[in-house]
């Protein structure tokens, strides 16, 4: 089904079941936060796990998606779905421009260039009037979906977010298991070979990047609508670092790693928020520990122990 292997299908169904059940047990707002970041992490994972490129500037796309969705829903009164799609489009267009600049390099250079470009976007957002600067765009209304469903009801909003997440998750999966995805895999494993076979590898990588940025924008836009606010934090490099941490902890290149990572990181931040800067220290410590001793991440380790590809 959808190109999932047997164990993956089981895991997928389990995940959907959990998504359906959890809001009755846990706070929907917390879960929505998890889902937004899970989608963001999945989008990031597409680049690092399947194309092999570490983008250290994903906050630019997440944050711009957040700003655009917030702005259009607040000032143009568009439907939430439209706002989210516009957020995704913003991510894609920005991804096209920034990706074009970065894609010719790889490895560390790509990471640094994406970081620097994202920093540029951040500084732009600090100055640009439409972002509201330090205050951000506040009191973003959720509105009524399709003019009918009142999204101010947390449960209603939750199902929308859940739908967005699952759609994004499946889209990524389809991409990976399509012929396009096969070429990406070939590029990751032996780029010179792929080039010699006639593939314009930079184009493929760029398209993957644009898709990743689009979904990051979708995640950002959804988050802005759920929480009613878009701020500079969304474009700050700490958000870029956070999504890297989430995916690393969950498991780079695994299907469910980013989701698990998002659950853990969001819960941890929730708990530690009361302790101020300890969040940063903990994040850093987890980074260090993961890189030293836990590079496969939670899902990667489980997968290795069970000998399954998850």
């Amino acid at each position: 089904m959808f190109g999932f292997s047997r164990p993956q299908s089981i895991a997928f169904l389990a995940m959907v079941a959990l998504i359906a059940v959890c809001p009755y047990v846990l706070y929907p707002v917390f879960l929505m936060r998890v889902l937004c970041f899970a989608l963001f992490a999945c989008a990031f994972n597409l680049m690092i796990g399947y194309v092999g490129l570490l983008s250290f500037g994903q906050a630019a796309f997440f944050g711009m998606g957040s700003y655009v969705s917030a702005w259009t829903i607040k000032f143009w009164h568009v439907d939430a779905v439209v706002a989210i799609l516009l957020g995704g489009a913003t991510g894609a267009v920005l991804g096209l421009f920034l990706g074009y600049l970065a894609i010719r390099r790889s490895g560390i250079y790509f990471a640094m260039i994406t970081l620097a470009l994202a920093q540029m976007v951040y500084f732009f957002c600090v100055e640009a009037p439409f972002t509201g600067g330090e205050d951000g765009i506040q009191q973003v209304p959720r509105g009524h979906l399709f003019g009918v469903i009142n999204l101010n009801n947390d449960m209603a909003m939750y199902w929308v977010v859940a739908a967005v997440f699952i759609a994004g998750f499946l889209l990524i999966h389809r991409i990976i298991h399509s012929p396009f995805g096969q070429v990406l895999k070939a590029i990751r494993e032996n780029e010179p070979r792929a080039t010699s076979l006639g593939y314009r590898t930079d184009d493929y990588k760029l398209i993957a990047f644009i898709l990743s940025c689009m979904l990051s924008g979708v995640a950002g836009g959804t988050k802005a609508i759920v929480f009613g606010i878009a701020t500079l934090t969304d474009v700050h490099y700490s958000t870029s670092g956070e999504v890297v941490l989430t995916t690393l902890l969950g498991g780079l290149g695994t299907v469910f790693g980013p989701v698990v990572g998002a659950v853990v990181v969001t819960s941890m931040e929730n708990y530690l928020a009361q302790f101020g800067s300890w969040v940063t220290v903990t994040q850093g410590a987890i980074f260090v520990l993961c890189v030293l001793a836990f590079r496969r991440g939670i899902v990667g380790e489980i997968g290795a122990a069970l000998r399954l590809g998850l």
């Binding site: 570490l54 640094m112 993961c290 030293l292």
Partner: protein, 295 residues
């Protein structure tokens, strides 16, 4: 009053000086990064945090031990350099056998830990550090007033940068370092203790960052965020200069500082982003950077 392009002379020169100062910091920090990258093939994300630690070391030396600025210029780099060596021996050296990206992630994590700890302990408001008496005040040059301390910063940075360049390019120690960058196993087979050379190089790069931190302490108040503020622009500088050359890092750093300073005069809104705009142009025209080696 002299007017240049419609800007009053003193204002222009004042901003140029500020630009040179920023450029001095960009140069010192990107030099340290370039050295570390050349030897270890790791982007030291913790460089900004170590710069900050250098400033804090100067402050702590004064606060707790009564040790003043000039001794701190030597002690702080030694202390923080030693800390850097400890980091390299215990953590960073484990990254050499892995994909280079893991080194980046490790140092990024370290920067979060260091900055988080300092923020917890000292808060985000700055701690004051006085300009040493002998460097206070300003000199009247006729076309502008030159603040003595700031002139000292630029001069000290130039001396340190070009001394480093001279050591690397003109001495036999530098030859060993350059050779080790090219083919470390062979240099080791000749009898050079390459692992120790690598450790000392990292320590040296860190010491350079800490030295810059001490220089920065009187100008920017000593606070945990000071590394952050610089390091992201420094990465752009490094991308522009290309990772290949020491001289490139120095020239690019100073040059971009000056460009930034000039932009503040003529077009202030763009001053924060101008460095990145230059980076975009360079990426479009010379993807390997101005001084980078063609891969």
């Amino acid at each position: 009053m002299i007017m240049i392009f419609g800007i009053p002379g003193p204002l222009l020169f004042g901003q140029l000086l500020l630009g040179l100062i920023n450029g001095a910091f960009y140069a010192m920090l990107s030099l340290g990064l370039a050295i570390i990258f050349g030897m270890l093939n790791i982007i030291n994300f913790a460089h900004g945090a170590l710069f900050m630690m250098g400033a804090f070391a100067a402050w702590m030396l004064l606060e707790y031990a009564g040790i003043g600025y000039f001794p701190a210029l030597i002690l702080a780099p030694l202390i923080i350099g030693a800390f850097g060596i400890l980091l390299e021996r215990t953590l960073i050296s484990r990254m050499y056998k892995l994909d280079h990206l893991y080194g980046l992630l490790l140092t990024f994590g370290l920067s979060l830990v260091i900055e988080g700890l300092f923020r917890n302990y000292y808060g985000s408001s700055g701690l004051p550090y006085q300009i040493p008496k002998v460097l206070q005040g300003a000199t009247n040059l006729g076309f502008m007033y030159l603040p003595n301390y700031r002139a000292w910063v630029v001069a000290a940075a130039l001396v340190v940068c070009f001394s480093t360049w001279a050591i690397l390019e003109k001495t036999s120690l530098g030859a060993k370092l350059r050779a080790a960058t090219e083919n470390a196993p062979l240099v080791q087979a000749f009898g050079v203790d390459v692992p120790r050379v690598i450790t000392l190089t990292f320590g040296g790069g860190v010491a350079l960052a800490a030295f810059a931190g001490v220089l920065a302490a009187p100008i920017y108040s000593v606070n945990p965020d000071m590394g952050d503020n610089f390091i992201n622009t420094v990465f752009a500088v490094v991308v522009i200069g290309g990772m290949g050359s020491i001289l490139g890092a120095i020239l690019t750093g100073f040059g971009l500082g000056v460009i930034e300073g000039l932009t503040k005069v003529f077009y202030p809104q763009a001053s924060a982003t101008v460095v990145f705009l230059v980076m975009v142009i360079v990426l479009l025209t010379m993807p390997h950077g101005l001084f980078g080696k063609r891969a």
